[in-house]
C-alpha cells in the first residue's frame, strides 16, 4: 500500500512539474523533470535509493521556477507536498529495508502513512491560508510575528510532550 503510494507521489510530482514547465516554455527543464522523475521511479522500483535528497531538491528548485512563472500556488504547493511525501517514503523504505518481518512492516507502513498524510494535509492547508487571507505587513512586524510563532510552537510542543509523559506515568 505505502509502496504504491510512493510510486504514485513520484509520478504525480513528475507529471505536475514537467507539464507546467512545458506549458510555460521551459522545455529543457520540463524534460529534466521527466528524466529525474523517471530515474527516481526506476531506482525505487529496484529498491535502491542512493540520493533521494538530490532528487527532492531538484523538484523544489522546479517548484520555485514554476512560482516565478506565476503558476497557481495551490498547484505548486500540491506538487511540493507530493515531492515531500515521495522523499519521506523513499527514506522510510530505505530505513526498514534491512530488517524486520513483513507483518510488523505493514503495520508500521500504515501508521507511517497515516502520520505523513496528516502532516502534509496540515502543512498544505496552513500554506494555503495566506492565499485567501492577504495581509500587508512591514518586514519587522513579520519577523516579530515569525519569532513569536516559533516560540509559541516550541512551548506548545514541549507542554504537549510533558502532558503525554504524565499520562504514561500515571497509568
Amino acid at each position: 500500500m505505502a509502496r504504491k503510494f510512493l510510486f504514485a507521489t513520484i509520478v504525480v510530482t513528475t507529471l505536475l512539474f514537467s507539464i507546467s514547465l512545458w506549458v510555460f516554455g521551459e522545455y529543457w527543464i520540463a524534460f529534466a523533470a521527466l528524466l529525474i522523475g523517471f530515474s527516481w521511479l526506476i531506482l525505487e522500483y529496484y529498491k535502491k535509493s542512493p540520493f533521494p535528497s538530490l532528487l527532492f531538491f531538484s523538484f523544489i528548485g522546479m517548484a520555485i521556477l514554476a512560482d516565478f512563472h506565476h503558476l497557481s500556488l495551490p498547484i505548486i504547493l500540491f506538487g511540493l507536498s507530493t515531492d515531500l511525501a515521495a522523499w519521506d517514503l523513499s527514506r522510510f523504505f530505505a530505513r526498514i529495508r534491512e530488517t524486520g518481518d513483513e507483518d510488523a512492516k505493514s503495520d508500521l507502513c500504515k501508521r507511517h502513512l497515516h502520520k505523513l498524510l496528516l502532516t502534509l494535509f496540515i502543512g498544505y492547508m496552513l500554506a494555503l491560508l495566506p492565499v485567501f487571507f492577504r495581509l500587508s505587513l512591514k518586514f519587522i512586524v513579520l519577523f516579530i510575528l515569525a519569532l513569536l510563532a516559533m516560540i509559541t510552537l516550541r512551548s506548545s510542543i514541549l507542554s504537549l510532550r510533558s502532558q503525554g509523559k504524565n499520562t504514561i506515568n500515571g497509568s
Binding site: L77, L84, D107, A127
Partner: protein, 427 residues
C-alpha cells in the same frame, strides 16, 4: 539528530532567505509545508526511553551444535515510539539458524515486542548477550540508540564421543564397589588366590582340586575385589601446545577427549576431578555422579588455551591436588620437557595414563605435507618421546585426531605397557 535534519533545516532557511531576497512571498509560503513537517518530527522525536528487556534461552546447558531457542522480549515502559529498530548482537561464536533476530516496528506505551529464533553456538560460556534498540521519529530525523545487555548464562559444552570402558589399575582404590580391580582378596569375579578354609565360607568357593592333593585340609578360592577409584584428569591448556588453523584447533580435540573420559570414568562410579593447566589453574574438586559431570563439562565449556610464564612447564603441576596413588589421566600433546615430570609422577606412585593428541600429524594435515624431511624428523622425535614415557610404565595413547578417540583408546590400551612386557620376556 541526523544529518538529514540539518540539511532539511538548511533548506527551509535557504527558502526563507531566497524569498526575502527576491521579494517573492510565494517562495516563503513554499516553506510552510516543510516547516510543519519539521515540527512534526520534533514533536514525535524519541525522548526518555524506558525499556525492559528480557531474554529466555532454552536449553541453558547444551552440547555444541544443539539448536537453542532464544526468545527476546522488549517492553516499552515509556511513551509511544514511532520507529523502533531492534537488532540482536550475536556474541562471538553464536550463529543464527532460523527465525527473526531483528525487527523494525512501532511500539505503543506498555506494549512489547518479541523476537524468537534459534541459534547454534561453539563451545563456551556466554554470560552476556546484547541487543541494540534504536528509537526514532517517523520522519527519520532523530534517532536514539541504546544497547541493552542481558545475562543468559548459556553454557555450551563440548560434544564428546562415547567410549568403551577404559581399564585402569591404580595402586589404591576407594571403599565402594566398582569396576576397578583393587589388588585385594574378597568378593569379586577374577580369581585372586587361595587361602585356608574358614568356617562360614560358602561351599561353592572351596577349591576341590587342591583338597584332593592334601590330607584333611580345606582351601577356599578368593577373588579380587572390584572397587571405584580416584581419577584425576589433567587437561593441558598451554597456548604453546596448541595447533590452530582456520578449520579448528588441536585444543578442541583435547577438550572433547577430556569430556569423554570424564563421562566414562564417572559412569563407572569413580570419583573424578579435573585440573586445567594453562593460562591459569582451573580445577574441579573430586566428586561422583551426574552433578560432578555437569561441573566438569561447565569447566570444560569455558576453558581456553592460555599463556602464563609461571605455568609454562608441567613442573609446576600441583600433584597434591590428586589423592596419593590414584589414577591420573593427562590429556596433552606433550613437549620434550614434560617427560621428566610425567616420569616423576609415576615415581611418586600415581598410575598415569597419557592421552596425547598428535600435533605433528594435525599440523601436517593442515599443510597437507606428509613427505617432507621436517615431518619425518618431527614424527621420529615424537615417537622417541612417547617411547620414553611408555618405558616408565605410563599407559600412552598416541591419538591422531583424524581417527575416532574410541578406536585410538581401544587399540592403545589393549596392549600392556612396554616396561611390563619387557620384564615378562626377561629383558
Amino acid at each position: 539528530m541526523k544529518k538529514s535534519f540539518v540539511v532539511f533545516t538548511g533548506l527551509i532557511i535557504g527558502l526563507a532567505i531566497f524569498g526575502l531576497a527576491a521579494f517573492h512571498s510565494n517562495v516563503l509560503l513554499l516553506s510552510i509545508p516543510l516547516i510543519v513537517y519539521l515540527f512534526s518530527a520534533i514533536y514525535y522525536r524519541p525522548e526518555d526511553l524506558k525499556f525492559t528487556v528480557s531474554r529466555e534461552v532454552n536449553p541453558e546447558h547444551a552440547p555444541q551444535g544443539t539448536p537453542i531457542q532464544v526468545k527476546l522480549t522488549v517492553a516499552n515502559r515509556g511513551p509511544a515510539i514511532d520507529e523502533l529498530v531492534i537488532k540482536e548482537i550475536f556474541p562471538k561464536g553464536i550463529q543464527k539458524m532460523v527465525g527473526k533476530s531483528a525487527i523494525v516496528t512501532w511500539l505503543a506505551p506498555q506494549a512489547s515486542v518479541e523476537l524468537e529464533y534459534s541459534i547454534k553456538a561453539v563451545r563456551g560460556q556466554y554470560d552476556t548477550y546484547d541487543v541494540t534498540v534504536n528509537s526514532g521519529d517517523f520522519c527519520g530525523f532523530f534517532s536514539l540508540p541504546a544497547i541493552y545487555r542481558t545475562n543468559p548464562h548459556l553454557v555450551i559444552h563440548p560434544r564428546y564421543p562415547k567410549l568403551d570402558r577404559i581399564k585402569v589399575r591404580p595402586p589404591q582404590t576407594r571403599g565402594f564397589a566398582g569396576p576397578i580391580a583393587a589388588r585385594q582378596g574378597g568378593i569379586g569375579i577374577d580369581f585372586y588366590g587361595v587361602r585356608e578354609y574358614h568356617s562360614g565360607d560358602p561351599q561353592r568357593q572351596i577349591n576341590w582340586k587342591i583338597i584332593a592333593r592334601r590330607d584333611q585340609e580345606l582351601f577356599t578360592n578368593i577373588f579380587e575385589q572390584e572397587r571405584v577409584a580416584d581419577v584425576g584428569l589433567i587437561l593441558d591448556a598451554r597456548q604453546r601446545m596448541d595447533v590452530s588453523s582456520p578449520y579448528g584447533s588441536l585444543f578442541e580435540h583435547s577438550v572433547r577427549a577430556t569430556a569423554a573420559l570424564a563421562e566414562n570414568f564417572l559412569s563407572d562410579g569413580n570419583r573424578v576431578s579435573l585440573l586445567v593447566y594453562g593460562g591459569g589453574l582451573e580445577s574441579v574438586f573430586p566428586g561422583y555422579g551426574r552433578i560432578q559431570k555437569d561441573r566438569i563439562l561447565k569447566a570444560l565449556a569455558k576453558t581456553n588455551p592460555g599463556m602464563n610464564y609461571a605455568l609454562d612447564s608441567l613442573a609446576y603441576l600441583p600433584t597434591r591436588f590428586f589423592p596419593a596413588s590414584s589414577q591420573i589421566v593427562i590429556i596433552s600433546p606433550l613437549s620434550p620437557d614434560d617427560i621428566s615430570v610425567i616420569i616423576q609422577m609415576r615415581a611418586h606412585g600415581y598410575a598415569v595414563m597419557l592421552i596425547s593428541p598428535d600435533p605433528i600429524s594435525y599440523a601436517s594435515a593442515i599443510q597437507n605435507d606428509f613427505t617432507s624431511q621436517a615431518y619425518r624428523l618431527a614424527y621420529a622425535e615424537r615417537d622417541f618421546m612417547l617411547q620414553q614415557v611408555r618405558r616408565s610404565g605410563v599407559q600412552v595413547v598416541n591419538w591422531r585426531v583424524d581417527q575416532p578417540l574410541e578406536i585410538a583408546v581401544r587399540e592403545a590400551l589393549s596392549r600392556q605397557p612396554v616396561v611390563m612386557y619387557q620384564k615378562g620376556i626377561g629383558i
